[in-house]
């Protein structure tokens, strides 16, 4: 099946616009593609509505700009995503920190 790019993704404008080059999305690092893909996949699965994520992204970008943060677009995306899944009780922030610690220490090595 040909993947039809989401109109919602194409409609993101202004500071919330996805980084692109010649019409293609640009992921400087693999994790950026992963968090993008996770967000899109979960919205396809109706875990949340795209506009709910978008609202948090816009808010996070505004906050970061206000505070003069040097964070990149996808850092802000990541934070918006984490905030959203916590607010929706899909993930517990404590679990995320612990799992992060597991990967960091090498106690865990894979995604599954």
């Amino acid at each position: 099946m040909d993947p039809v790019p989401s109109r919602q993704i194409a409609d993101m404008t202004g500071q919330a616009a996805l980084p692109r080059k010649n019409g293609e999305l640009v992921f400087d690092e693999a994790w950026q593609g992963r968090i993008f893909g996770m967000t899109v996949a979960m919205s396809h699965e109706a875990r949340f509505e795209w506009r709910e994520f978008q609202a948090r992204l816009i808010a996070e970008i505004a906050r970061a700009e206000r505070e003069g943060e040097a964070s990149t677009y996808y850092e802000r995306w990541l934070r918006a995503f984490e905030r959203l899944v916590a607010d929706k009780s899909l993930l517990d922030p404590g679990d995320v920190s612990r799992r992060h610690g597991d990967f960091e220490s090498g106690r865990r090595d894979d995604v599954f």
């Binding site: 010649n22 019409g23 505070e67 943060e69 993930l91 995320v96 597991d102």
Partner: protein, 216 residues
């Protein structure tokens, strides 16, 4: 020891190192997969689609083929849908309109959901703006000049309004000085904006001949 980073705090005034972000995302995916909230396969497919499939390289391939193969170009102009299927791109009702020394083509879509995604990827945000959509039809020459394309009065401008039934793709003029280039090299010159009609294809000046690359 590890685990005492202030990930839960929100007082980041500096950039996180890439490795921290990468591990964070892995942790998220790991948990989400465990809880069956997402599948890694689905994530793979989406990333792959956006990285490989959704972009202007399919359209660029069509343009390059038309440039090097006059018979293909005739078929393309006669029946765009059928001709792109020859190259493996299907499912689009498409008309290809050719830029010539006498005619410059510009594509717009007053209803706005009509865009040949499979050939040129995500529509630019300006394309969907009311401003572009209305002005492209009313004053195309001015709009083009704003895009940096100066079309003299002696050249006709044709504006094509896409619809759900028919999408348009501009076949840009092949830039002079590209006679020695391979089809693959030519395709790399073709931009999304050129296929919409708001840019001309540039010959990359001063670039030495590149080795043949695998198909885009």
């Amino acid at each position: 020891m590890s685990g005492n980073h202030d990930h839960e705090g929100h007082d980041h005034h500096h950039r996180e190192p890439e490795s921290v972000l990468s591990l964070r995302v892995r942790a998220l995916e790991s948990l989400l997969v465990e809880k069956k909230l997402v599948s890694s396969d689905a994530v793979d497919r989406i990333v792959s689609a956006y990285e490989q499939d959704i972009g202007p390289h399919h359209g660029a391939k069509v343009v390059a083929r038309a440039w090097v193969d006059p018979a293909y170009k005739e078929r393309l102009l006669a029946d765009g849908s059928a001709a792109i299927e020859e190259l493996g791109f299907g499912g689009v009702d498409l008309k290809v309109v050719e830029n010539t020394p006498q005619v410059h083509n510009l594509v717009t879509c007053t209803l706005c959901s009509c865009y040949p995604h499979s050939l040129i990827g995500l529509p630019p945000t300006w394309y969907k703006s009311f401003e572009y959509r209305s002005r492209a039809v009313i004053e195309p020459r001015v709009v083009l000049r704003e895009f940096g394309v100066d079309v003299p009065e002696t050249i006709d401008i044709r504006v094509w309004d896409s619809s759900a039934e028919m999408r348009y793709l501009v076949l840009p003029q092949r830039p002079p000085g590209t006679e020695g280039m391979s089809e693959t090299e030519l395709a790399q010159l073709v931009t999304r904006d050129a296929m919409i009609g708001v840019a001309l294809v540039q010959r990359t000046s001063g670039t030495p001949a590149r080795p043949e690359r695998a198909a885009l």
